[in-house]
Symmetry: C2
Subunit: 282 residues, 2 copies
């Protein structure tokens, strides 16, 4: 059993921290409000075996690193789960290496329900020693670990690539569903027909019902996408890569966020399409 | 058993016409080169029970209509399968109505293999009488008939809506896969991981392997998409609807077509992305 410090107790982080406690580890959970999950770790951070960083972004990851890296014991591992640019992951890994610590570049996927069940997918890269040291965390939190290689950054690169698919597919579903409404196809009929056709996607089948049922409970919020697709376009800008679909989707997510929909479920991007097209959603 | 005239013997049409012959109907198959499938219909067009139009587009549909509408017997049905604008379908239905004929707005989906097996999905709208008269065709060619309602145009509207999903999802898959390559994620790894993730789509799972395996045998060609997404944007232009993802994808398909890739499999849109990004595909 390990002593694990956990930073970031949002919908994903709380589920992961709870999975660690359930697996028998001693956990101290923190977020910006201070310690808020007492999972039986009464040791000081200097004795942690692992620190899991499930915070919002690169800036928050770096803030926690500033706090803990000077105090962690040699050979302990930082498991970094936020979606961040691959270059940032490489820089953080180098910093840990210089301090005698291990670093696993370990973005997560799967949503809050799977986080609570210890059933996440983790796209991870790092040294074999980092994987070994992180094993208690991976075993408790994930049903699938995609080992992307030894080089930090590959985990984050895979996550960014995945977010292109996920973020654009949500926007595409919204664009098609609203187009259908303008042509006399109801969301009910759309959702009866599309899932069995070649045009379907996981996001259509998962998020489409949110629009049909007018349920924008934020299982995954609009504001995730300006952040994650912004990381993607930052990478692309630095490399001169054109990503026209990502840019089109990102613009719509930013419109949704600016319209005050940021904390609604990401299916609420359909509201921007519906307003522009002058049609009513359910 | 019915006497059925069939126009358009491409990869979809030949499969459908063969399914009609296999079901016991008497079929005369035509295309731009004249009669090319002798399915035992030795009667004149004036005696046809049904005419199936599986031609390329609205212009070819209208050409065949010009030829056959004045000569078909009262109560016979025109089954129109090309992807066309809903307004065009409504105009053709009105024309048939004025000539004492029935019209079924009946776009098809499923690909050549399913066409050959009589296993298509048909998104159809028209009067109950038109559905009844078209039953021999629907029964022989389709495993799924989505009845969209009595009004011609709803079948074409559903097809256009579906093509938004299908066409944009192919382009999204290509954009993400090439982005992944630039970040060190191989197409092999991409296809190992993505299908089990929330970012997956039917098109990713179906077309992704074509890129991974460098197999651009045209099961569905690039040139389908400038045509079908062009219909979608024509509808949107007429109604003032913004479709930013469709427009971004359409631009890429047009680039692919202009680059001489029009007759390759539509997964070849990835070649445009790869060239721009300066990476090699398998």
């Amino acid at each position: 059993m390990a002593d694990i410090g956990f930073w970031g107790l949002g919908s994903m982080g709380m589920g992961m921290a709870s999975s660690l406690v359930r697996a028998g580890h001693r956990v101290a959970g923190h977020d910006l409000r201070g310690v808020v999950l007492d999972g039986g770790m009464d040791v000081a951070p200097v004795d942690m075996d692992a620190a899991v960083l499930c915070v919002l972004n690169a800036a928050q990851t770096e803030d926690v690193m500033d706090e803990i890296v000077p105090r962690m014991k040699s050979g302990a591992v930082v498991v970094a789960c936020a979606t961040v640019p691959p270059d940032f992951a490489r820089a953080m890994a180098a910093r840990c290496d210089g301090a005698g610590l291990l670093y696993l570049d370990a973005p997560i996927s799967g949503g809050a329900a799977r986080a609570a069940q210890g059933d996440l997918a983790i796209m991870a890269s790092g040294s074999p020693a980092a994987f070994d040291a992180a094993a208690p965390v991976l075993d408790a939190c994930a049903s699938t670990v995609h080992r992307m290689g030894d080089a930090p950054g590959l985990g984050s690169a895979m996550k960014a690539t995945h977010q292109i698919m996920a973020g654009v597919n949500i926007a595409t579903m919204a664009e098609a569903m609203v187009f259908g409404i303008t042509q006399g196809i109801s969301p009910e009929r759309f959702m009866e027909i599309l899932p069995s056709c070649g045009g379907t996607s996981w996001m259509l089948e998962n998020r489409g019902p949110h629009i049909r049922d007018a349920d924008y409970t934020p299982h995954s919020a609009v504001d995730i996408w300006p952040k994650d697709l912004g990381i993607v376009t930052d990478i692309a800008d630095a490399s001169g890569i054109e990503l026209p679909l990502v840019r089109a989707a990102l613009a719509r997510y930013r419109e949704a966020s600016a319209a005050g929909l940021g904390r609604e479920d990401d299916a609420a991007i359909a509201k921007i399409y519906a307003k522009q097209a002058g049609v009513e959603l359910p």
